[in-house]
Amino acid sequence: MKRALWILAVLLSHWRRHPMQLATLLVGLISATALWSGVQALNQQARISYDRAASALGGARTATLVGSNGESLPQQIFVELRRAGWPVSPMLEGRIQIGGRSLRLLGVEPLSLPIEASAAPAIGTSGLQGFLSPPGQTLIAPDTLAELKAAAGDTPLTNTGLTLPPLTPQNESVPGLLVVDIGVAQRLLNMPEKISQLLLGQRDLGPRAPLASIAGGETLRLVEPDAETDLERLTDSFHLNLTAFGLLSFLVGLFIVNSAIGLAFEQRRPMLRTLRACGVSALQLNSVLIVELVGLALLAGLIGLVCGYFIAATLLPDVAASLRGLYGAQIPGELTLRPQWWAAGLAISVIGALGAASASLLKAIRLPVLAAAQPYAWQQAQQTALIVQGALALIVFAGGVGCLLLGDSLVAGFAVLAAILLGAALALPAVLGLVLLLSERVARKPLAKWFWADSRMQLSGLSLALMALLLALGVNVGVGTMVQSFSKTFTGWLDGRLAAEVYLNAASDAQAVEIKAWLRDRPEVQAVLPGSRAEAQLGGWPIDLIGFADHATYREQWPLLESSPGAWDLVARGEAALISEQLALRLKLKLGDRVAVPTPQGSWPLEVVAIYADYGNPRGQLGVAIAALVAHFPGIAQTRFGLRVTPAAVPALVTALREKFALDNRSLADQAALKAESRKIFNRTFAVTNALNAFTLGIAGVALLTSLLTLSQSRLPQLAPLWAIGITRRKLAVIELMKTLSVALITALLALPLGLVVAWCLIAVVNVKAFGWRLPFQVFPEQLVQLVGIAMLASLLAALLPILNLLRMQPAQLVKVFADER
């Protein structure tokens, strides 16, 4: 034991003499752990929320009885079932608007609520009476309360002028959800004596009559509880995305660790030999080496976890905004971490460090005690390695193509991506070697020939760092291209969808009539386009029905992805609908298919005549004729309209409307403001992607730096002879810099096609699966040039430190190369 401690002390003395190396090793481990665990923390946070949402009231963890056609049920059926011995509890669900914000409203009956379904809002300690007796309570998550800018006890009005029971914040509540007594929900949603579903408890209440023998029982359909919730399924893609980035950063971080450990091993070789010669057994030496490594990994892992926490906390608001925007998933803004997260983070740090050090450790095991200089067969070894790697790359590429042809899932999409990236990384040294070999052949002057030959020799030491650079750049190009393509498509789409110059939402139907009358006398108003919105369910998915008038504005400007002939006329007659791309993908609808929308007036058959893009909407959407919509949903608000106005007259008209009818910003907006708002939401969606992208590139830069540091140490024997034959240190430094930059440039150029392939894969495969959007693929040359520039800058910065070392190197040190035996 004492002996082991002494060996450890000797080994650690190395770090004291090379603090920079220790720092590099720790930076590598810290950044690997930090990004990985940061991403894990985000995923975990989201999963906790989904889980809470699912097990909360109205979640999917309880079996339910629903109407077989998805319509609401009469309340009496609840009574009939209870009286037949069924452990059911009624629930009424809908959406209400408060201050322009749409919220999910859930009416529950707490006395019959199955124990397993009642998790979150403890209608509790304050007493059930407070919840049931007037004025009652509206249970709300503190986050949502803050978003509404309301205080506990407030009784806000819905947009239909109904008063909510006093808001009662509950930490266990699901964000965005309001829970009230079922009687209150019936009043707020104007659905007297109606329920939307019956929760079926697991508790055995004894014998029960068969469903068919109960009045109305034949209209019920049993929905089994979901093991995986809708939200989990929907958001899978998003989290897979995050995980993929986390994994990439982790691997890049390990490249750093690998080169730092490789360097340390190289330099400690004499020390290890001495220790062995002093009688330390190979087993003991290796055990202590592993203990040292694990100790460092734990230390770095701990720091990494703290950094990871901060990364997650910084990104969480954007992640939450993205998830809300994309899927309607509500994630609270405060990070909660579980003990498993800490344990997993430390474990991944240790495993990563051991993995990255495995090559060095294996060398240490086989270290011959009395071997003198290192074996010089590097070139041959390098050749073999290149061939093996090249072959591996081909296999991986083939696998990727297989996934592309055979797979249809999101996971397959990511597998294709992974195969492309991994294959490219593996092929990189071979391709670089080939390029350098060709350059060498072309070169005439001896120094130039040496330049290329030496670059080639350096390849094995640099290849890991270059692979990291290639991956980081490739992903950057890919994601950048995807985001840009999307941005451009989105902007064009916004122009089409927001065709009217002014949008307004009157406070009431009466005011709407008044405004319309007033607008009739304004010559600058060319058209008033009424719009209306109703909510329904289709195939178990919540959808919005958008009613619009038959007008040239839509016919000419609404960008459709595909449409049947005469689509607009069919829609105008109320027989057909335009549907959003997401809805079409989700319900597998094609042009010509028919859907039956449940409405208060009964089922409404509609033919699908066109499909349109509806980016960033978590809900499915159907566009229908407004007259038909109002006929099927009598009583919906008819307060929205768009105005076609001569552009120059817009500001004056907006001001006049605002003053005359006291409309605020929320109810009156011009096109420009709406577009700006939409773009803001859009940009937030990709904020996380961009941030992770930048992190990855940064880590790749550090990897390159550490590799170059490693190389510069071990390359003195190659440089000293050149110096000895009269080439100045300055010239040597320039040559070294050129070499690094040229290799980096070749890598960056190779990363461009790789990135475009990645972008294509993201756009054509992953996006469609993840979001339900198809996009046209576009290339943005300026962006590519910019990225190559950034890569070269990063390489320059990374090469600077070793070059400065060389410049300042004492001639004595170069001379010493010849004195030493190595």
């Binding site: 009574v79 209608i123 300690t125 009476q129 004894g206 009559a209």
Partner: protein, 362 residues
């Protein structure tokens, strides 16, 4: 986590409902609120004549009310069983009780089936106003979910007979027919039952003469049974004084044909309030003087953390009654939201017979 949260809420409910629970916090108000001031609810006054069938129905102007049936039964082999069927009503607010979810009444029901070797219980909750639970006077019907007690067309209001009673839980069920030839019995002073010296009281009448027959089912095995049953009807707005912490209540079917109702209300200062009625073979109900009643525990049973006096010595000197009671099953614990002890007992001594014992507040 979810379960415990919900249990918490059920307890919250219990404190609000305040029917039987003896929550520690609630002691200050007698039994978890049963000692709460009647406030705007109707008050129980002496001298009110009970009228039937009207008073078989619910009295929403009063805070609380119950329909309470206990039965001492035997199967063909002589094996003894006990059956309990209880429906409680509590109004959260005084005043009109509208139809629909705005109705402020909560219904709770307990059912139990006891034998010497097992005691099965079940519990139900329901909101008033929507039809899941309720009581109507004509025709008489009391129900919650699929449990019910109903009279139908043939029922005579004066005898509350015949009645059909049924209830079921996960592991037991029963269905009984109750018939009685003799009229209802008014407890206390003509139906005005005093609960303290300070005016707390309830309206209280019984039907102790029911003959019961039907079947009980334990773990899917049905057994034909016969015996006698006792139904209590009681309603009030503040039945207990604020310092009364629990009660011991007896209903006795003596082999002589006499029926006896006795209770002891325990006060937090250690004193007791005694009351009871002797219903002779002629059907006349006579109040017993408090100092004529002596009730003493003779043995206790450990149930969980609690010690319950499950065997008693009862003496009523003017009636020459000196008996010992023993439980059919000492573990007749109602582990419901508001836990209490309720079970059949056997009587030995100067008189023989059977009965039911209820103990709360332990």
């Amino acid at each position: 986590m979810s379960d415990s949260l919900f249990r918490l809420s059920r307890r919250g409910f219990a404190a609000g409902l305040a029917l039987l629970a003896l929550g520690r916090n609630a002691r200050a108000q007698g039994f978890a609120g049963l000692g709460r001031d009647a406030g705007e609810f109707a008050k129980v006054e002496p001298g009110r004549a009970l009228t039937f069938p009207l008073d078989h129905g619910a009295h929403p102007e009063f805070r609380i009310e119950w329909w309470y049936l206990t039965a001492n039964l035997q199967d063909a082999a002589g094996k003894a069983y006990g059956v309990q069927w209880t429906l409680f009503r509590q109004a959260m607010r005084p005043g009109e009780q509208p139809e629909g979810w705005a109705n402020q009444q909560i219904w709770m029901a307990h059912a139990a089936l006891t034998s010497a070797d097992t005691h099965r219980t079940a519990e139900r909750f329901a909101r008033g106003g929507v039809g899941q639970a309720g009581v109507t006077a004509t025709p008489f019907r009391a129900w919650i979910d699929n449990w019910q007690m109903q009279g139908g067309e043939a029922m005579a209001p004066a005898t509350l007979s015949p009645l059909d009673v049924a209830a079921s839980g996960a592991d037991f069920s029963y269905a009984l027919r109750l018939t009685a030839e003799r009229p209802l019995v008014l407890q206390g002073d003509s139906g005005y039952s005093k609960k303290s010296e300070r005016g707390q009281a309830s309206y209280y009448y019984s039907q102790p003469y029911f003959a019961a027959s039907g079947s009980v089912t334990l773990d899917g095995k049905a057994v034909e049974v016969k015996g006698q049953a006792w139904m209590d009807r009681e309603w009030s707005s503040q039945p207990l004084a604020s310092d009364q912490t629990g009660w011991d209540w007896f209903s006795l079917h003596l082999e002589t044909g006499d029926k006896v109702m006795l209770f002891r209300l325990r006060q937090s200062d250690g004193a007791n309030y005694f009351a009871g009625n002797w219903i002779g073979t002629d059907g006349k109900s006579v109040q017993l003087a408090p100092d004529a009643i002596a009730i003493t525990p003779t043995a206790t049973t450990q149930i969980g953390q609690r010690q319950l006096p499950t065997a008693w010595r009862i003496a009523i000197a003017p009636r020459r009654l000196a008996i010992d009671t023993t439980p059919l099953n000492p573990q007749s614990w109602m582990g419901t939201s508001f836990p209490y002890w309720e079970g059949p007992i056997a009587i030995r001594g100067s008189h023989a017979g059977v009965g039911y014992l209820e103990m709360t507040g332990y």
